[in-house]
């Protein structure tokens, strides 16, 4: 067996050498205005050679090593246990969610302003991921242009406040409804497509919105974006040091406390928290309603579902519209948090990250998606020190995840409706 692997092992070792030597073995150094090429230190070269020897050895004895690894699960106390009973699992999940919410509630009072800001971003991503989860996880429609609805929500608030002086609270439902309307209008022609074709068209739609925002300069400000988006107010109380609008009072004066910049951040955070909780609860409820069952039925067997009188268009559109609605929600909060938005915030990468959250969390699973949103948003911040390798680590984590747990962190377990009277 070792002899058979010899050629392959040699090949792998060569590849390692060929790839790593030019990358690590040469350095470009600036000397005045010229750039010179210098060889690397001996230690680096030894390291490269050592690495290829390790690759060679591993490939040579690959079968033996993998066989030994295969016995490892014996040492894993969690392996081979019975799956948890569905009712217990549901209870546990709701307990975890409760703990999370309580933790989130006290979070801003324990940590620094920067952490609260980050936590707000986490909540925005949770909202987005829960919304996309409806479209991708439940209805099974691969939507790669989801950031477009996010952009619609954000720009609705920005434009309304700029041209019509409309406050956050009024813009919130308008932004969400407008995003839902976009979802409806754009869903209509594309929903007869499926799978890859749908993905491509939605991808195109996302780009159309971004390019439109970029080029419609006299309305949206083009690449310069829109600034000066107002903060939300609490029953007419503003959070700034001075009151901007007539008739409003300021928060710190009303309560007779010293002005602090943190009040605003915490308030925005709490708004995001409430909206995220509402999003989660509404979607959880929808999953158990006829419309939720219809989404799943259509995903599982479209022909059977149609033969039972389910209209394909109506069911898919409802998923698309509801997903877009929550993206609009998140967009409004985002605009208010940033105070400034530009098309730069709504690039395809944004969609890709949200989709990654949904896939990592486990399609259709709410708790999984929430945990994945927290992980995906916070980990890059923690890894700031290795900022150069951040995307590399992110990519590697994704690959490892797909190898070890392709079904996601917490794969969806359907909440079954039970027939109780069995007399």
């Amino acid at each position: 067996m070792v002899a058979q692997n010899f050629g392959h092992a040699l090949f792998c070792a060569m590849i390692t050498l060929i790839i790593s030597f030019p990358i690590l073995g040469f350095n470009l150094e600036a000397q005045g205005i010229n750039v010179t090429l210098t060889g690397a230190k001996t230690t680096t070269i030894i390291g490269v050679v050592l690495a290829s020897i390790i690759v060679f050895g591993f490939q040579l004895f690959r079968d033996a090593i993998m066989g030994a690894l295969g016995t490892l699960p014996r040492f894993n106390p969690l392996a081979g246990r019975e799956p948890m009973e569905p009712s217990r699992r549901v209870k546990l999940e709701s307990r975890i969610i409760t703990v999370l919410v309580v933790l989130f509630l006290f979070w801003p009072f324990m940590v620094s302003r920067g952490s609260v800001d980050l936590a707000t971003l986490v909540l925005i991503y949770i909202m987005l991921a829960l919304g996309l989860n409806v479209v991708v996880g439940l209805a099974g429609l691969l939507d790669l242009g989801y950031e477009a609805f996010y952009a619609v929500g954000a720009y609705t608030f920005a434009l309304l406040s700029r041209y019509f002086d409309i406050s956050f609270w009024l813009a919130l439902p308008i932004g969400a409804l407008l995003a839902a309307l976009f979802g409806l209008v754009l869903g209509f022609p594309v929903l007869r497509l499926r799978g890859d074709y749908l993905a491509i068209v939605t991808l195109g739609f996302g780009e159309i919105i971004r390019i439109l925002l970029n080029n419609w300069t006299n309305v949206t400000g083009g690449p310069n974006g829109i600034g000066g988006i107002p903060d939300p107010t609490l029953f007419g109380m503003e959070f700034g040091r001075r009151v901007k609008e007539e008739g409003n009072t300021s928060f710190h004066e009303t309560f007779g406390i010293a002005y602090s910049g943190e009040h605003k951040v915490i308030f925005l955070y709490l708004i995001a928290l409430v909206l995220a909780v509402i999003t989660a609860m509404v979607i959880r409820r929808l999953m158990r309603m006829p419309v939720g069952r219809a989404w799943e039925a259509l995903r599982e067997d479209e022909i059977a579902a149609r033969s039972l009188g389910l209209s394909r268009t109506a069911v898919k559109l409802s998923a698309f519209t509801i997903g877009a609605f929550f993206a609009g929600f998140a967009g409004t909060v985002f605009a208010s948090k940033q105070g400034f938005i530009s098309p730069e915030s709504f690039v395809f990468l944004e969609s890709a990250i949200i989709l990654a959250i949904v896939v990592l969390g486990g399609m259709g699973s709410q708790l999984g998606v929430i945990l994945a949103a927290i992980a995906v948003t916070i980990l890059p911040e923690l890894a700031r020190e290795f900022s150069e390798y951040r995307m590399l680590i992110f990519g590697a984590a994704m690959v490892l995840m797909m190898v070890w747990r392709p079904q996601g962190l917490l794969p969806m377990r359907r909440i079954h409706i039970k027939l109780n009277r069995l007399e």
Binding site: R285, M289, P290, R293, A297, A304, L308, L419
Partner: protein, 251 residues
């Protein structure tokens, strides 16, 4: 109640169904038989709206339905099963029946989110109806199992129950006995007759199992190579020379 006039279906150069006519009266079981590839399932697909027929008329309760979208036809009360069972495998048995009652349920989003009394009421009624039909086809004990885990014969019965909760007027069964053992086929036989007698549903049946067809059919239509070959009572069809030739091949 169903009248098909000169139905034709052409796929490019292939004429899969050629001038087929048949009719179904109320309270009647009509079978469509024919050799493999004769176009029986294509006729079904045209009737249920999966294909848009290239010629002919389909009248259901005196209204033309050819070319209507499939879900509309199903809502009119013309519901079908499939040659290969198509259940929602990851859902439980009872959920399969709830999906089928989608249009009877209150699908108003706001009502569902607020759990209005009307919404609860309908949800309870649809559960009751599901329980009734599960009892009827003998699957009540398995109500909370995943549909994909049922045995094949049980899946067949579940598919029929799933059609019945939609309260159809005409049921179209595509080879319901395929893959069943003789005992199961006898049960199916009883079930289909009872659907007709007790629930006043007309049935159109595609079947290869001749014992089933001859036992329960009121009338039989024979199709061969897309063309109608014969029609009449089981007795007449059994003695028809053309039919014998088509099945046994010409000497």
């Amino acid at each position: 109640m169903l009248e098909v006039q000169n139905l034709s279906m052409r796929f490019g150069g292939l004429l899969a169904v050629d001038q087929v006519s048949l009719d179904v009266q109320e309270h009647e079981i009509v079978s469509i038989i024919g050799p493999n590839g004769a176009g029986k399932t294509t006729v079904f697909n045209c009737l249920s709206g999966f294909y848009r027929p290239t010629g002919g008329k389909i009248l259901f309760e005196d209204k033309e339905i050819q070319g209507k979208p499939d879900y509309r036809i199903s809502r009119l009360g013309l519901v079908r099963t499939f040659q290969h069972v198509r259940l929602f495998n990851q859902m439980t048995v009872v959920e399969n029946l709830l999906v089928a009652q989608h249009r009877h349920l209150n699908t108003n989003l706001i009502a569902g989110l607020l759990k209005t009394p009307d919404y609860r009421d309908r949800e309870r009624k649809s559960l009751d109806r599901a329980a009734y039909w599960l009892d009827r086809v003998g699957l009540l004990d398995l109500a909370n199992r995943e549909a994909g885990n049922l045995a094949y014969g049980q899946q067949r019965r579940l598919e029929i129950a799933r059609c019945m909760v939609t309260e159809p007027k005409l049921l179209m069964l595509d080879e319901p006995a395929a893959g069943l053992n003789p005992a199961e086929t006898r049960d199916l036989n009883q079930l289909i007759i009872s659907l007709k007698e007790d629930y006043n549903v007309s049935v159109v049946l595609i079947e290869h199992d001749m014992s089933l067809v001859m036992d329960i059919s009121d009338r039989i239509n024979v199709i061969s190579q897309g063309r109608p070959l014969a029609s009449g009572t089981p007795e007449e069809v059994r003695q028809n020379e053309d039919v014998i030739k088509a099945y046994l091949g010409e000497a």
